[in-house]
């Protein structure tokens, strides 16, 4: 892939250079299509753009060509001030050339990613020879000077995105940490996890529901099964369901998403089997309500007031419905335990619930409850990753400020190592 890219890039550069060096722009016989120069002899045309280059856009999935150029000498000044650039494209060096976009004066780059030449998927087709030309245009749009034609250039996708190297490093670092602590946890090392108030209250709340003979309502939120908070919530649901099965209390899990419902049913079923009470499991404990946000809220609010659960557990991804649910639960007199990683919704849970797991505590809760080596190892790895983040942030800030004080740029270089692009 790389040699091909380099070859294409070199070819583009060579072609661009040969065109740039050859003819003075105004004298070029470029009038091959109808959109070409409509020159007015009495006015001097503006200078064309120079050093025009067309390259396959780097670090992408293909379907994109990036053009770069040096602005016209009359960009913002000169006898005929250039106010914009019009970009033309063709699949043949002879044309016809079609306009694929424009750029305002001062611009030096343009990305051609989709246009009339798009393929069936709506993208610019890859591996097709393309040629480009840019016209420097004055304010009245009638006087324009074309650049030389550059090409051929082809778009193609890259297997590796250089701009995401910091993410790869971070994932690899975290993965290694996780493996290290997983090994330690499996070897029986005593890995300390500080107590989490909200989770310690779960057992107490289930006990209360048993004493009162009332059900426990577990709300998984509006997330899909692919959301990390929903996945964490499944683990907590498993633990809650196991306790519910042991205490022979009733569990209600109304779901917003059909896939979440299916996974939740499996989770609860497995928990009942773990508790040694598979016969107590009923399919209708976990059911689908609706896929409408406020329809779901209305229905869950109704359940709260009609079935009067002793405990409401909200764990997962929540949006605007968080306060509506938690406020109704508080009115119904239920003990409420919540947890979400949606920063905007945490305040509502904090004011309306008895216990709230804030952000990452939700993920930690599943490890704290399960005490499984895999989850504990991952939790420990998270802590060490956080320590690494703190150290990097301090080092970065220190480097930037020391370097800035001595007018050096190495601080910025250090910071750029962490930059993610694309």
């Amino acid at each position: 892939m790389k040699p091909l890219l380099i070859t294409v890039s070199l070819l583009s550069l060579m072609t661009a250079a040969s065109f740039a060096q050859s003819d003075p722009p105004v004298e070029q016989p470029m009038a091959t299509d109808s959109t070409m120069v409509a020159s007015t002899p009495s006015i001097t045309p503006p200078a064309p753009v120079s050093s025009l280059e067309a390259k396959d856009s780097p670090d992408d999935h293909g379907h994109s060509i990036t053009l770069s150029w040096e602005p016209s000498a009359d960009d913002g000044a000169g006898a005929a001030t250039v106010t914009s650039y019009v970009i033309y494209h063709s699949t043949s060096p002879e044309g016809p050339f079609d306009s694929v976009g424009s750029a305002i004066s001062g611009a030096t780059t343009f990305t051609h990613s989709s246009a009339k030449e798009s393929d069936a998927a709506g993208f610019l087709a890859d591996y097709v020879d393309r040629y480009y030309r840019i016209d420097a245009v004055t304010a009245d749009q009638t006087i324009r000077t074309p650049s030389s034609v550059v090409g051929p250039v082809q778009s193609s996708g890259q297997w590796y995105n250089d701009g995401r190297t910091p993410v790869a490093v971070a994932v690899a670092f975290f993965g290694l940490l996780s493996l290290f602590f997983l090994k330690r946890a499996k070897a029986g090392a005593d890995l300390y996890v500080r107590p989490l108030g909200g989770i310690e209250a779960v057992d107490e709340a289930i006990g209360r529901a048993t004493e009162m003979g009332k059900p426990i309502l577990y709300v998984l939120g509006l997330g899909t099964a692919s959301d990390i908070s929903t996945i964490a919530s499944f683990t907590i649901l498993g633990r809650v369901a196991k306790r519910v099965a042991e205490y022979q209390t009733h569990l209600i899990v109304p779901c917003y998403d059909p896939i979440v419902m299916a996974v939740a049913q499996e989770t609860v079923k497995a928990a009942y089997m773990d508790a040694g009470r598979p016969d107590d499991y009923k399919e209708d404990m976990v059911y689908f309500l609706t896929n409408s946000q406020f329809g779901y809220v209305g229905a869950v609010n109704g359940i709260m007031l009609r079935q009067l659960p002793a405990t409401n557990v909200y764990m997962g991804k929540f949006y605007a419905e968080s306060l509506l649910l938690a406020e109704t639960g508080a009115l119904a007199g239920s003990i409420q335990i919540s947890g979400t990683d949606e920063v905007a919704q945490i305040p509502f849970f904090v004011v309306a619930c008895d216990y709230t797991l804030i952000g990452e505590e939700l993920y930690a809760a599943s490890a704290y409850l399960g005490r499984e080596p895999l989850l504990l190892g991952s939790l420990k790895a998270q802590d060490y990753a956080k320590a690494a983040v703190i150290i990097c942030a301090l080092l970065g800030a220190l480097a930037l400020n020391i370097a800035a004080a001595s007018n050096a740029t190495w601080g910025l270089t250090f910071k750029e190592f962490f930059k993610v692009t694309n």
């Binding site: 995401r164 790869a168 692919s226 959301d227 049913q265 109704g302 993610v420």
Partner: protein, 266 residues
Amino acid sequence: MDFETFLWTTFGAFCTLAIFSFLYKDNPFYKFAEHLMVGTATGYFSVLLWHNSLYPNLFAKLADGNWYMLWLNSSAPWYLIPGLLGLLMWTRFSKQYSWMSRWPMALYIGISAGLAIPLEMSNRVNKQLYAMMSDISWGNFFGSGLFDPISGLSQVIILVGAIAALAYFFFSKAHTGAFGGLAKFGIWILMIGFGASFGYTVMARISLFIERVQFLNRSWIQVAFDSSNTNHHSGYIIAFLVVAMAILAYIVREIVAHLKKSENIS
């Protein structure tokens, strides 16, 4: 306003008031609005799923094949694989084969987690870390330019606040001593942020409430009871009917309660 539009607007106003009646307590009007919304939303979702997902992503791709060939002769037969995985979800209705529904679920969650990991790492770790490394504007404190300690201070607060908040989310160490103090400062920072977010969101909710009140006032009351409107009599009729229904509901409820009480005594 024609009579049909007037009727639907009135129905919208009725549903709005029915939902608001929940503020008093659970009641038949709220139950009606709740069930109506859940039912219509579920029906709407099913149709949407067909038009936006199933048809364009599966059936349209296989459309050039023949059903009696099981679409294997279509130009894109590989679309049968996700179709088959989707069908496996239906095995949930069978006790014997329901285990097969775990395959598509496992695939779905596995792919989702795989996609989420680099995305979360990029957005929640790398980009945040990059933003935390800031060049504190010492110049503003010590010399050249305008004296602007606030902008310099805000950069310090961001850095220290982020580190303290991270310390709060440290689960491997008990929050005691100096570390406990840092974690406590972290939770204070978080609470200040939550407070600001709370106020902001409450304002947004108030604006939603205002919009509903405006709907009731401008789109319904002003039209229903405006004498220049040809349908203004309908407004009075509907208002009368609503009051009459409320009184009737109250009387029925009292009679039922009385009958139940009599049964208990006997």
